[in-house]
């Protein structure tokens, strides 16, 4: 019996995870430290089961998911809007370009103390922090997409009588969409890191808070559970939403030449 390419890849991936877990578990007695210092996979498994039984993990996961979704939506909407504005309007580009370049260099972590002063601990601060993290990759990719549209397409559409709005909707946006989606994917991954940091500082619930609280109370296995949950959540979002979305966009509007289109 031969495995298909996909089955072989899945098998190798599972084997890799299994070997990693086995090596991790084997290292626990060799290192010989207490579980609170260096938990093994079995400790982490017990902690995960306990967190689910106690209702902590589902609530924290849903809190984090809600914040993440809201923050990414705001960041993407504002990133695309500013990207289009700067990409299409020279005056806006000259006015906003330097400020945006300056702000890009200031990481979200530096803003959080000020956000806490302005909006206090909680949802708003986390939301603004996440939107800030997502904003820049989406903006720069939108800008790249808009500026990469071949001028000949725009001139052709204008020559055929298209209005500015029609050129935007039918030429610029479809051409820029693969770049926008790439920015969205990059921003969404940055938001995951931003979420942990924002929750550590300004939340009393959420996976980021659990990671921090676990370390504070020497429940290190809970911290590791939080890290694993974040990783799994990212794999889920990336594989089931972002990758298919990117694939659909690139196939529909990207510069892909298939056998069908060549004919």
């Amino acid at each position: 019996m031969t495995l298909t390419h996909r089955q072989a890849r899945a098998f190798k991936g599972t084997l890799g995870i299994f070997l990693f877990m086995a090596a991790w578990q084997a290292s626990v007695p060799l290192i010989g430290l207490e579980a609170y210092y260096y938990p093994g996979p079995i400790d982490v498994w017990h902690a995960a089961v306990e967190l689910i039984e106690k209702g902590i993990l589902p609530v924290y996961l849903s809190d984090s998911a809600g914040r993440y979704a809201a923050g990414v939506c705001i960041g993407v909407a504002s990133g695309i809007s500013f990207g289009l504005l700067i990409g299409l309007n020279r005056t806006a580009s000259r006015m906003l370009g330097p400020s945006i370049n300056f702000l890009f260099s200031i990481v979200e972590a530096a803003w959080i103390p000020i956000f806490v002063i302005w909006w206090g601990y909680g949802f708003t601060t986390i939301l603004i922090s996440l939107a800030y993290v997502v904003f820049f990759p989406v903006l720069y990719n939108t800008l790249l997409g808009v500026r990469s549209v071949p001028q000949v397409y725009i001139h052709a559409a204008r020559a055929l009588g298209a209005t500015r709005w029609q050129v935007l909707c039918n030429v610029i946006l479809p051409s820029a969409l693969p770049s926008i989606i790439t920015g969205f994917r990059v921003g969404a991954s940055f938001a995951f890191r931003g979420l942990v940091f924002a929750e550590i500082i300004s939340a009393k619930t959420g996976i980021g808070f659990m990671i921090f609280e676990g370390a504070t109370y020497l429940q290190t296995a809970r911290t590791v559970v939080g890290m694993i949950v974040m990783g799994l959540a990212w794999l889920f979002i990336n594989n089931f939403y972002l990758k298919p979305l990117e694939r659909a966009t690139v196939e529909r509007w990207g510069l892909i030449t298939t056998a069908e289109t060549r004919e």
Partner: protein, 105 residues
């Protein structure tokens, strides 16, 4: 034949939705069993409850319980919660980490 790129997102969303609805239904059913209609507070009236958890409460549980009523005392796995409204009592009964809840005088 290749699948539509939207197959995965739609299937994943449908799975999440089905799991959520199944969990919600299970919560409602177990809530009915823990707090039958005759044991529920009347609308607008706060009732004191003795809430039995499946484990010793952590700060997470105490915070959640405080949002539903006035937390008076914690004794091992038992929490005394006062002034619980009808809506909050139903929400509490549906919480899966609550083992039992009894009205008390």
């Amino acid at each position: 034949m290749t699948r539509s790129p939207f197959f995965k997102p739609v299937a994943a969303s449908a799975c999440v939705l089905v799991l959520y609805l199944a969990f919600h239904l299970w919560s409602v059913l177990q809530g009915e069993a823990k707090l039958p209609e005759d044991a529920r507070p009347a609308p607008g009236v706060g009732v004191n409850f003795e809430v039995e958890l499946r484990f010793k409460p952590e700060s997470f549980h105490q915070t959640r319980l405080q949002a539903l009523g006035r937390l008076v005392k914690v004794e091992g796995k038992t929490v005394l919660l006062d002034d619980v409204s009808r809506e909050n009592a139903i929400a509490l009964a549906r919480t899966y980490w609550v083992a039992e809840m009894r009205p008390r005088r």
